[in-house]
Symmetry: C2
């Protein structure tokens, strides 16, 4: 099966889960380690941080520009978080999938559910900690959160986790095992590429070959 | 996530597809190469062949015994094929899954659809040839089929293939690449084990840990 020729469109993989669970680390690991993956690009009104990599993850803008592009329909979902807007840039996303890239979206639970409504074939993966104490440790280590902010994040995590069953898959990002989580996600994406729903073209070709070859065989060629 | 502790039940994997596609070869390869898999056992009225391995694939019996066990409810699906009955032994199947084994069922399309109705969580995999000419070659090489029988098998294959979309996954068994097909099936099974629907226990435990740990944090421990 020439899977790529029959299914030229890439897959949309939504990596979600509570803040601090390590979405960014796992997504970066996939991008560094495996071929065929790209990251979706988001528009945000949050200020650029020193440690923001100079890559394609964010495009920064002010609130007016954000709202304008949202109204124009180029922002897929608008999430407000810590007083800033975040949203995926639709044109870039669809172009990537069209080119056959597997696009990783690293978004919060609310955004993930919105994406699933727009793209029912998107693969929703919920990244979770082994235990919630891991999450608290990670938020502390990050050092950018004051206690107030951290409480808000944990309360949000509690709310988010109730949407567990809206996700297709759950992957656990245990402390120090991000490579395993990355490998599992890549495995899920590969398995998903084998779903019958993604192979209508292959099915039609097989039916054609069967009708043309099967009818004359086996007797006709049986010397 | 202690996936195995939370989900002690194994998975039921139905490998189906037209006669001659290589179901047996692929299933044997999985059993030889990967841990944690077993084969389901069938009851059949077909005569034992010289090349039947002396393993657990078939239990042979006469037609009366078959019918009696079918009526008793121990035969999951009854398929008549080439004048003989075939059916999966229910008690052995359920015992295996209960013990946490991943049970591979190698059955025809008709049987596969019956299994899905009984066990909605079963993973239905359609094994197909790259091209239908491969199938004809394989049936010829097998040498146990006379032209008459081969025509019947090809006509059955045409009928079977129309059920393509009832299957969850399609795996292509290209000539000489059975190991790749086996690897893909194992990947599908692993990805399926990460479906949220299989992790209710993990979800509940996480919620509990969140409610007990999250409420006192972060302030209480923040010295």
């Amino acid at each position: 099966m020439n899977c790529c020729e029959n299914c030229p469109r890439g897959q949309l993989i939504v990596i979600s889960g509570p803040s601090g669970v390590g979405k960014g680390t796992v997504v970066s690991l996939i991008l560094e380690t495996y071929n065929g993956f790209s990251r979706s690009k988001s528009l945000t009104t949050r200020p650029r941080r020193d440690r923001d990599p100079n890559d394609e993850k964010y495009e920064f803008c002010d609130r007016d520009t954000f709202n304008k592009r949202f109204e124009e329909g180029d922002i897929l979902e608008r999430t407000e978080y810590g007083g800033n807007y975040y949203g995926t840039i639709r044109s870039e996303l669809e172009k990537g999938v069209e080119e056959g890239k597997n696009i990783l979206m690293e978004i919060d639970v609310n955004g993930a559910l919105q994406i699933k409504r727009l793209y029912p074939h998107a693969i929703l993966i919920c990244l979770l900690p082994d235990k919630f104490s891991d999450l608290i440790t990670r938020l502390r280590t990050r050092g950018t959160e004051d206690p107030e902010n951290m409480k808000i994040r944990l309360d949000e995590a509690k709310k988010e986790i109730t949407y567990f069953h809206e996700f297709d898959y759950v992957v656990v990002n245990s402390s120090g095992k991000a490579a395993k989580a990355a490998e599992e996600i890549v495995g899920i994406v590969h398995a998903d590429s084998l779903r019958t729903a993604r192979h209508n073209e292959f099915y039609k070709e097989l039916l054609d070959s069967l009708n043309s070859e099967g009818s004359g065989c086996p007797d006709a060629n049986d010397n």
